[in-house]
């Protein structure tokens, strides 16, 4: 573990990601970092001046993992010196957590902590829907998806508005995205009266309908077993249809897609335009949502001061690194292909051996320098490289925006200063003389 922190963990990119600019600012300095030590010990309220200090402390404590908290009104490590009541969270990335355990009722391949490529498809569907919805509906752009190391995925949103959301607003947002009721046996209820789906869900449904056919009907075959189709029957609001289907399905076993076709045929027994048909079509849409819509772990998102495991930490049970995931290629992502610590360290050793081979003639002193230089980019020589680069690209976007914003503010300053000069009336001539006006205009 120590070697991993010392040589591989990308402290600098993480620092940039949290800080939004290259020089340490409040976003990092007043940020809480909590360390989890072996034996369920958690050291909370750590904060650091820069990434070097951060790294030093991590190497000293050698935690099993560490978690990232909010930005507080003053430095968390100095919180005892703050006046009572004045130490409060002020900013925090908007975070979401999707966990496979919430999908247990609808997956047939694994249960509880286990996960495979097949059930990952649920997560993939959720990521697609949530990613599109957050960007399209809420207009946020800086989304970082991170594999949680075992059976879930985290989303960190670093947009300025998202960082500043209050707990109430976060709660509202979570409830906007909560469609599948927590209480099993309850139906999805998202409509106002007899109206169609709200627009936000209609777009999601278009995508999820495809997923539903592939994943639920064919791959997972959710309605094959008796418990499976009983659950489906509970979601159908028409007792005549339920009875008809139940007698048919108990008589002879059939595959899920056949059952779904039966259901569709039953709907068609009602004439177009009748209220029964409308209700059943709506129920069909609701069932698709029930089986495939993202299921969020709400408590993570609701409160600013909730801690969440930092990216690139190692999951203690699986040994896998929590790597960023590209939402555009989420379907290809295989949780079992994510590098583990042991694997990464082995890769490093292999590289070091071959390097020794090549520079056998190097003087001892020279070798030292090489090692020093190498250490900085150690992760570049392992399979961690593409993931760190992904984070760096993501950071670039955040930092560009921050810079533009600052420059925008700077522009105003210059404008203001010029305005003042003009008011003073003695530089107007000078302005014309040195021909500043074009560049002044371009600044605008």
């Amino acid at each position: 573990m120590l070697a991993f922190y010392r040589r591989l963990y990308p402290f600098k990119p993480i620092f940039h990601w949290l800080n939004h600019e290259p020089t340490p600012a409040d976003l990092f300095v007043k940020r809480e970092i909590a360390f989890n030590l072996p034996g369920e010990v958690i050291i909370r309220y750590n904060s650091f001046n820069d990434h070097d200090e951060f790294k030093k402390q991590v190497c000293k404590l050698n935690p099993t993992r560490f978690e990232i908290g909010p930005v507080y009104s003053s430095r968390p490590r100095d919180r005892k010196t703050a006046r009572p009541g004045t130490f409060n969270p002020t900013q925090r990335e908007l975070v979401f957590d999707i966990d496979m355990t919430d999908y247990d009722p609808v997956r047939t391949c694994c249960a509880a902590a286990a996960i495979c490529k097949r059930c990952w498809a649920y997560i993939a569907a959720a990521v697609r829907v949530l990613d599109a919805a957050v960007r399209e509906q809420f207009g946020y752009a800086h989304l970082l998806w991170v594999y949680s190391g075992r059976r879930g995925i985290h989303l960190w949103i670093s947009d300025k508005e998202a960082m500043g959301l209050t707990d109430d607003q976060r709660r509202a947002l979570v409830s906007w995205f909560t469609v599948v009721p927590k209480d099993e046996g309850k139906r999805v209820n998202v409509r106002f009266g007899a109206r169609g789906l709200p627009a936000s869900l209609q777009t999601a449904l278009d995508h999820l309908a495809v997923v539903f056919t592939e994943l639920v009907l064919y791959d997972q075959d959710c309605f094959a077993s008796q418990a499976g189709y009983q659950a489906l029957l509970k979601l159908i609001p028409d007792s005549r249809v339920v009875d008809a289907l139940e007698t048919k399905w108990t008589a002879a076993p059939s595959a899920s897609h056949e059952k779904w076709d039966d259901f569709k045929k039953q709907i068609k027994t009602y004439k177009k335009g009748t209220p029964q048909r409308a209700a059943l079509t709506a129920a069909m849409e609701d069932i698709i949502l029930q089986y495939t819509y993202p299921r969020l772990d709400e408590n993570v998102s609701k409160k600013r001061n909730h801690l969440l495991k930092a990216p690139f930490c190692v999951h203690p049970k699986t040994g896998r690194v929590c790597v960023p995931v590209d939402p555009a290629r989420i379907d290809e992502f295989d949780p079992e292909a994510v590098p583990t610590v042991a694997q990464l360290l082995a890769e490093l050793d292999a590289v070091a051996e071959s390097a020794e081979h090549h520079s056998g003639l190097c003087s001892h002193a020279h070798g030292q320098v090489c090692a020093e230089g190498d250490r900085i980019v150690d992760w570049e020589r392992t399979s961690l490289k593409p993931y760190v680069e992904m984070l760096e690209r993501h950071n670039q976007g955040i930092m560009d925006e921050m810079r533009n914003e600052k420059r925008g503010a700077g522009k105003l300053d210059i404008l203001f200063a010029c305005g003042r000069l003009i008011v003073r009336r003695y530089v107007v001539v000078t302005l014309a003389d040195v021909d500043i006006s074009p560049c002044f205009l371009s600044l605008l």
């Binding site: 009541g85 409060n88 399209e136 509906q137 809420f138 207009g139 946020y140 508005e161 959301l165 109430d168 607003q169 709660r171 509202a172 947002l173 409830s175 906007w176 998202v190 106002f192 109206r195 169609g196 789906l197 709200p198 627009a199 936000s200 209609q202």
Partner: protein
Amino acid sequence: MFKLEERSSAIEIKDKIQVELHRGANYPHRLNFYDKPPLYDVSIEEFETSALDRLRILAEIESSAARNRTWEETKTVTATQCEKYLPLKSSNAVGADRESQRRIDHLGHFVLRLAFCRSEELRRRFIKAETTLFKVRYETDDTTEREKFLSSRDFNWVAVDKSEKERHRQELSTYQGRADTFEADRYYKVRWTRVPDLVDKRKVFVKGGWAYVPSREQSSIVYQEFEAHLQRDLLVTARYMPRLDEDTRLGGILDNLSTGFLAGVSSEWSAAPADANAETIRADMVDDLAAKHFPMCMRNSHQRLRKDHHMKHFGRLQYGLFLKVLGLSIEEAIIFWRKSFDRINDDTFNKMYKYNIRHSYGLEGKRANYPAKNCQQILTSGGDPGCPYRHFSQENLQSALLSTYGPLGLSSSDLYEVMNTVKGGHFHVACTRVFEITHSSSGVKKGEGVGGGESVTHPNQYAARSMELLKAQEEKAMMVIT
């Protein structure tokens, strides 16, 4: 912030001018966003009463929330309470002194700001209650007047123009509004962060972080604005509070107000009993009355007195004053205590206790007429004898409630609800609920409280109401017989 009566003359003159300027069309609307602090002279008395009256209403709103009242119920209860303590008439009401009503409303709000800006907890509760009050008023406001009020402020919303509305026709119609009125419906665009409640219920169309709010839901923006505004101002006030500490006259009042929120504002329950209960109470009636009419705290005192044949000073004070206000005369009181303390001889009693009893009736020492302790005082007294709902352990309270009120109709199935409110820290709500349950035979329904939806704020209020109900019932029975 507040210009009080006795300020140095220079400032006073300046303020006079300001005051002149401010009067006139000072409060054009019934609704108020409380942007400007009251910049006029206020007497200490006005300072306190305006705040107390307002606090009564806020406390009632809080307990409404704790008692799970529906919005309609809350609205009616709050409106009746407002009518009683803080009337605020609309601009076209005839014969009402609008200016002074609005002035008191304005003043009370700002005094309470001072009292509740101190801690996060108080601020949160204050904001919640104030916003509810604003909502009640907003909803009961006259439509044209509300329209006027809305146009008097800039709420920073962008009206959605025709072409944009047409573009999102499909999406918008899935949320609200009917197809036939779509053309006439107006929409306003605001950042979604300003209407979290609408987003929460998925009631608006959101795109790119902008929420398209239909004019019907416009009020959400207004409420949110009110809340955010108040939140910001309270923080500013909190920062200036230390300056106010110099004024010794206000500190006490403000402290008193902020504790008042804990137990609700207590009603002074001293004047009524003598004439209300024409028949006086005698010492030998107390046992019977206690079993039928006393709230838990006094039942507890009574039981302990009977069990121990003695009671310590503060217990005697609390219980004795309660009995006094209930209508026990001084002679009867001495008989009552003498009989209760039946293990000591006359001499000790006269020497050690008689003076004390006479003192509490205002017959010794400074001859003050002491009022009975109210819920707030009992709740904050520290537990000896205290309020059972607050100071008993939960198991203890459960068994005590069952054994005490079981004969009056409290069953263990009711306990769950009562204990839940106790756990939530709403002690007076729990007490009120017990009152409702034990008086259901006299026709008290859930949510009615001790008449008109009021909560218990004084043990004597509890007992008096209980006796009143029984009397009414007896009278009815008599009518039937004759």
